[in-house]
C-alpha cells in the first residue's frame, strides 16, 4: 500500500503496524449508514426543546408555563424549580486545581436548568417536551419568562476590575482560582542578570469548536427493569455515566447505560458532561417515555463549551548571546458563567507545564487567574491549554530574535534541548522521556527551503505583495494521563484506559475499547495492532466502543490519549491472549509452555516444526475436549487496564509562508510544512489526515475564527456560520507532513499521539509568518485572527500601503 509522502512505515503485514490500510469504518459513512444520535428513533419518543436565556445576566422573576402547556401536543414543561423539587444535583467539575497558598478552586453550583439567575446568553431556563419537534418549538415560544436584567461582564480584564459585576454573589472578585507554577524567586533573580528582556502582550482568541455533528441526547427509561438509557454525542460515555449517575441524578451505576454511537467529530467539545444529558435522562423517567433533544447549530454556538480566551503578559530574559535565562508569564483565563467539567484544569495544568517548550530555559514562573464572566462556559478545545502555551512562548521567541537580530531558526537551535539530554526534567514539572526537536527543525528547514526565502520574498514584493515566513517548534503533553500525577494535580478520578480482546471459537476477534472513535480511525488503527500481534487479518477483527453495557470501564478519548494509553492497554491484552494461547498450545503439543513460541500466527515448540495455528488454539479453548481443565480455564478472552507512568511528549517544527495583499489586508497561506515526532506510527495515512486536519483547524484560529461577544450586553455576535468564519476548502494550502521519530520510552507501543499537534503548532507558526511579513513596518505582534480588517488596519496604522516598497 502507498504511504503518504514523508511518513515511513516498514510493512510486512498489509494490515499490521505501519501499513496505510484504508479505513474499515469508511463504508457505513460513505453509504449514508452511519448511526448518529440524531438518527435514532425509539418507540413512543417525544421531542424536547430548551428555552434559553436571551440575557447574559438576569434574575428570573417568574416562569409562566400555562400557555405552553395548553399548546397542541405538549407533554410537559420543566424548569429549574422542578429539578430542585426532584432533588436533582448540579453538574460537577471533575478537575478543580489548587491555587496559590493551597486555596481551592471555587465551584459554584451549576444547575442543569437555571435556578434564580441566568449567567450567560444560552443558559437554559425551561425544557419543553411535545409529541413532535415542531410542536415543542412552537410551545417553547409560548413559555413566558420574566427577567430582571442585570449588568453583565464579558471580558476577563473587565471581570477583575474593582467593582466589576459579580457573576456569583458570593464570589465578588470573579476569581475562580489564582494559580501559580514554577520558581518565582529564581525567575526574578535571572531577570535581574538579563542582558535583554523581550516582552509581549497578547490575546488568545476565544473559539467555538463546532464539530460538524451538533450535540444530541436521548433519554429513555424502562420501568419494568428500573433501567435508564442515555444516548449521547459523547467522547467518553463511561465518564458521563459516572458523573451524571453519581453526582447529578443519583442513579446507581448498574441501572444506567450510556451509549455514544457514531459521533460526528468531538475536538474536546463533546468531552464534558452537559446539562442536556441530565435533563433528558431525568425527563424520560418522569414521563415514562423517551425524550430526544437535538441541538440546532445556533443553539450550539450558545451552549457548547467554548475554547481558549486568554489575555497574557509575558517576558523572556536573555543573555547577550540570545540564551534564554528565564520566562515569566501572567495569564487571565475565562471560565465563563459556570465551571464546565474540566474548565479550571485547562489554563493551568495543561498550560503552565508546557511553557518550557523544547528549550533549556532554566527558570520559569507562571501565574494564571481563572475568572468567571457572563459567557458560555469555557473548557478544552483541541489542544486545550497547550496551543495557548505554545503561542505565548513561540511569539515571544520571535520577538526576542527580532530585537536581538538573531535568525529565528538559530535562536531556537541555541536554546533547544539536545537529543542526548533526554530524559529531560524541565523547571515546570514535566520530565520529557524522549525527543529530537533539533532533528525535526533541521528537516523542516530543508523541506520548507528556509534559505531560499529571500528570493521568494523579493518575487512577491515585485508583485506588490508582502511575503512572510514563520517557524514554530513545540512540545505537547499527551497520552492523558498517568493517574498518580493527575490525581496530585486535582483530577477526581483515574485516567487509565482499557481494552478487552475476545477471541471467538473460530479464531476471529472482537475488541472492546474504553476509548471512543469519532473520526480518528480507531476501528482501523486498533485492528492493525491486533493484526500485528496475533497475525490475523484486520478483516477478522471488529472494534467495539461507545456502549457502557458492552464495554468494560474506560475513560474515553481526549488529550491525544487513545493510541498511547488505549493502544497500550490493547497491547497488554494481546500479551495475555498470547500467554494463555501458549499454555493451551503447550498441552496440545505435549511440551512445556516455556518452550512455546508465537510468531506469524503459529504457536510452535521452539526448535521444532511442531506447531498449532492461532485458530486451532482458539477452538481448543472453546471445545476443551483434550484440555488441561484442572489447571487452565477454558475460553480465550483477556482484558487489560493500562495506566501510563508519564505523559507522552510529541514535539516538532512547523513552518508556514504567507503572502499579504497590503491593499486589502488579505493573508494568503501559501505553504505549510510539518515535521513531527509522534513516536511509533500505526497507520501513516491516518496520521497524515489527523495532522493535516489539526493544522487547518489551527489555521482557522490564526486567520479566520473569532468568538465575539458584545462587551456591554453580553450578546454573542458571532453566533452562526455566517458570522463565525470557519476554514473552507479554498482557504487552505497543501500541508506537507513528515515524521521524525523517537519512540516513547515508557509505553509498549512507543507511540506518543498525533491528534492535537496541528492546533498546537499552527497558530504560532502562521502568526509568526504574518508578523514577519509586516516586520518592516515595525510590527512585532498581531492578535488572532489575522483577518483582512485587522491586518489592513495594522498596515495603515503603521503608515499605509505606500510604505510597502522595501
Amino acid at each position: 500500500m502507498n504511504h503518504p509522502a514523508g511518513i515511513e512505515g516498514a510493512v510486512t503485514n498489509p494490515t499490521g503496524i505501519g501499513a496505510s490500510m484504508r479505513r474499515k469504518e469508511d463504508m457505513r459513512f460513505l453509504m449514508g449508514r452511519g448511526n448518529y444520535v440524531a438518527d435514532i428513533k425509539l418507540p413512543d419518543m417525544t421531542a424536547g426543546v430548551f428555552v434559553r436565556s436571551p440575557h447574559a445576566h438576569a434574575r428570573i422573576v417568574s416562569i409562566d408555563k400555562k400557555a405552553a402547556l395548553a399548546m397542541p401536543g405538549v407533554v410537559d414543561v420543566l424548569t429549574g424549580e422542578d429539578l430542585k423539587t426532584d432533588g436533582v444535583g448540579g453538574l460537577p467539575c471533575a478537575w478543580p486545581v489548587v491555587g496559590k497558598g493551597g486555596a481551592p478552586t471555587k465551584e459554584p453550583a451549576h444547575p442543569a436548568i437555571a435556578q434564580g439567575k441566568v449567567r450567560y446568553v444560552g443558559d437554559a431556563v425551561a425544557f419543553v417536551i411535545a409529541e413532535s419537534l415542531a410542536q415543542a418549538r412552537n410551545a417553547a415560544e409560548a413559555v413566558v419568562v420574566e427577567y430582571d436584567v442585570l449588568p453583565a461582564v464579558v471580558g476577563v480584564l473587565d471581570a477583575i476590575k474593582p467593582g466589576a459585576v459579580a457573576v456569583f454573589d458570593d464570589i465578588p472578585d470573579n476569581v475562580c482560582v489564582d494559580w501559580e507554577l514554577g520558581d518565582k524567586h529564581a525567575t526574578e533573580a535571572a531577570f535581574k542578570k538579563a542582558a535583554h528582556i523581550a516582552r509581549i502582550s497578547l490575546v488568545n482568541n476565544r473559539l467555538v469548536g463546532n464539530p460538524m455533528e451538533p450535540r444530541a441526547a436521548i433519554g429513555a427509561f424502562d420501568r419494568s427493569r428500573g433501567q435508564h438509557t442515555l444516548y449521547t454525542t459523547s467522547q467518553f460515555p463511561h465518564i458521563v455515566k459516572l458523573l451524571m449517575g453519581n453526582f447529578v441524578l443519583n442513579i446507581p451505576q448498574h441501572k444506567l447505560r450510556v451509549v455514544s454511537p457514531d459521533v460526528g467529530g468531538g475536538f474536546g467539545v463533546k468531552q464534558f458532561h452537559y446539562a442536556e444529558e441530565a435533563v433528558v435522562t431525568w425527563a424520560a423517567k418522569r414521563l415514562g417515555r423517551p425524550v430526544k433533544w437535538v441541538c440546532d447549530r445556533s443553539e450550539g454556538f450558545i451552549s457548547d463549551a467554548h475554547g481558549r480566551d486568554h489575555v497574557t503578559e509575558a517576558e523572556m530574559a536573555l543573555d547577550e548571546n540570545g540564551k534564554f535565562l528565564a520566562l515569566k508569564v501572567s495569564t487571565i483565563a475565562n471560565m465563563g458563567g459556570y465551571l464546565s467539567t474540566f474548565g479550571p484544569n485547562i489554563p493551568t495544568n495543561l498550560y503552565g507545564p508546557l511553557l518550557a517548550g523544547v528549550y533549556t530555559t532554566p527558570a520559569i514562573y507562571c501565574e494564571v487567574k481563572a475568572v468567571f464572566t457572563n459567557t458560555v462556559p469555557v473548557d478544552a478545545y483541541r489542544g486545550a491549554g497547550r496551543p495557548e502555551a505554545t503561542f505565548v512562548l513561540e511569539r515571544l521567541v520571535d520577538v526576542a530574535a527580532s530585537e536581538l537580530g538573531i535568525d529565528k531558526a538559530e535562536i531556537r537551535r541555541r536554546n533547544m534541548i539536545p537529543s542526548n539530554a533526554y530524559p529531560y526534567q524541565t523547571p515546570v514539572m514535566m520530565e520529557y522521556d524522549s525527543g529530537d526537536p533539533g532533528g525535526c527543525l533541521t528537516k523542516a528547514l530543508a523541506n520548507a527551503d528556509w534559505n531560499g526565502f529571500p528570493a521568494r520574498k523579493a518575487a512577491s514584493a515585485a508583485k506588490g505583495k508582502l511575503r512572510g515566513i514563520g517557524l514554530c517548534t513545540y512540545v505537547e503533553a499527551c497520552g492523558l494521563a498517568p493517574s498518580r500525577i493527575a490525581i496530585r494535580l486535582g483530577v477526581r478520578g483515574g485516567l487509565f484506559e482499557s481494552a478487552a480482546v475476545r477471541v471467538h471459537p473460530t479464531g476471529q476477534v472482537t475488541v472492546l475499547m474504553g476509548s471512543h472513535n469519532h473520526g480518528q480511525g480507531h476501528e482501523t488503527t486498533f485492528a492493525q495492532i491486533v493484526s500485528e500481534r496475533l497475525s490475523i487479518p484486520a478483516e477478522n477483527i471488529e472494534i467495539v466502543f461507545g456502549d457502557t453495557d458492552k464495554v468494560q470501564f474506560g475513560l474515553g478519548t481526549y488529550g491525544s490519549r487513545s493510541l498511547a494509553v488505549g493502544g497500550s492497554a490493547l497491547w497488554k491484552a494481546t500479551d495475555k491472549v498470547i500467554a494463555k494461547g501458549k499454555k493451551i498450545a503447550a498441552h496440545m503439543l505435549e511440551a512445556a509452555d516455556t518452550d512455546i513460541e508465537f510468531a506469524d500466527g503459529m504457536f510452535s515448540v521452539a526448535g521444532t516444526d511442531r506447531a498449532k495455528s492461532f485458530a486451532e488454539v482458539a477452538l481448543s479453548a472453546h471445545f476443551p475436549v483434550d484440555y488441561p481443565l484442572e489447571i487452565l480455564e477454558p475460553g480465550l478472552e483477556e482484558q487489560a487496564f493500562y495506566d501510563p507512568v508519564n505523559f507522552t511528549f510529541p514535539c516538532g517544527a512547523h513552518i508556514a509562508e504567507v503572502e499579504i495583499d497590503p491593499e486589502t489586508g488579505v493573508v494568503e497561506l501559501l505553504s505549510y510544512v510539518c515535521v513531527d515526532d509522534i513516536g511509533t506510527v500505526i497507520n501513516p495515512m491516518i496520521v497524515d489526515g489527523q495532522i493535516t486536519g489539526g493544522v487547518v483547524q489551527g489555521v482557522g484560529q490564526a486567520l479566520y475564527e473569532d468568538c465575539v461577544y458584545d462587551p456591554e450586553s453580553g450578546q454573542l455576535l458571532s453566533g452562526s456560520f455566517m458570522d463565525y468564519c470557519m476554514p473552507r476548502a479554498d482557504h487552505v494550502p497543501k500541508v506537507s507532513v513528515e515524521t521524525h521519530i523517537t519512540k516513547c520510552t515508557h509505553n509498549p507501543l512507543g507511540s506518543k499521539g498525533c491528534g492535537e499537534l496541528g492546533t498546537i503548532g499552527s497558530p504560532a507558526t502562521v502568526i509568526n509568518a504574518v508578523v514577519d511579513a509586516l516586520s518592516h513596518l515595525g510590527v512585532n505582534h498581531i492578535d488572532m485572527p489575522a483577518s483582512p480588517h485587522r491586518v489592513w488596519r495594522v498596515i495603515n496604522e503603521a503608515g499605509g500601503a505606500a510604505r510597502v516598497a522595501q
Binding site: R28, M212, G689, P727, V732
Partner: protein, 157 residues
C-alpha cells in the same frame, strides 16, 4: 398535502406540511438518515442531495416543491448490489473522510461538481466544494478525492 416524487429510483408518496423541509422529510418521514443537518443557516452542506441531478441543500428546500422531481440521496448513490459510486470509492481510497458526518453532503456535492467539471485542477475542486464544511480533514484529502473521483467517473462514462 400528499406529494409524489422519485426517491433513489423508486416512486414515493408522502404527506407533508407546507413548512416541511426536504431534509426533515427524508430523515424523519422516509427513514433515510444519511442526509445530515449540520447547521440552520444553509452554510454547512451536510444536507446536500440531488434534485433532478443537481446538488441542492435539502435543509432549505420546501418538500412541497418536489412534486414529480427525481431526488437522489447518499443512500441512492451506490448500485443496488452495493457497488460504490466512483466518487464514494475515491473518498475511501484517498482518506477523504474522518468522522463521516459531512461526508454524505460532501460526496453529493462532489458528484454534481465532477459531472460538470470532469477534469478539475486542485483549485477548481476546492472551489467546487466551497459550500461544504468539513471540520476534520483540512480538506486536502477531500480535494484529492474529488479529483480522483472525477477521473474515475470519466472512465465509467
Amino acid at each position: 398535502m400528499l406529494i409524489q416524487f422519485v426517491l433513489n429510483g423508486k416512486p414515493v408518496a408522502v404527506d407533508v406540511a407546507a413548512y416541511d423541509l426536504l431534509a426533515d422529510v427524508v430523515r424523519e418521514k422516509l427513514g433515510l438518515t444519511g442526509t445530515h443537518i449540520g447547521c440552520d443557516t444553509s452554510q454547512c452542506g451536510a444536507c446536500v442531495v440531488h434534485i433532478d441531478g443537481r446538488s441542492v441543500k435539502s435543509c432549505s428546500t420546501l418538500a412541497v416543491t418536489l412534486e414529480g422531481a427525481k431526488v437522489t440521496t447518499i443512500e441512492g448513490l451506490a448500485s443496488p448490489s452495493g457497488q460504490l459510486h466512483p466518487m464514494q470509492q475515491a473518498f475511501h481510497e484517498q482518506h477523504g473522510l474522518q468522522c463521516g458526518f459531512c461526508t454524505p453532503g460532501m460526496v453529493m456535492s462532489a458528484v454534481d461538481f465532477a459531472s460538470r467539471n470532469p477534469n478539475p485542477t486542485p483549485a477548481e475542486a476546492a472551489a467546487g466544494i466551497e459550500g461544504n464544511f468539513c471540520r476534520c480533514t483540512g480538506y486536502q484529502n477531500i480535494v484529492k478525492s474529488v479529483i480522483a473521483g472525477a477521473a474515475a467517473m470519466r472512465v465509467v462514462k
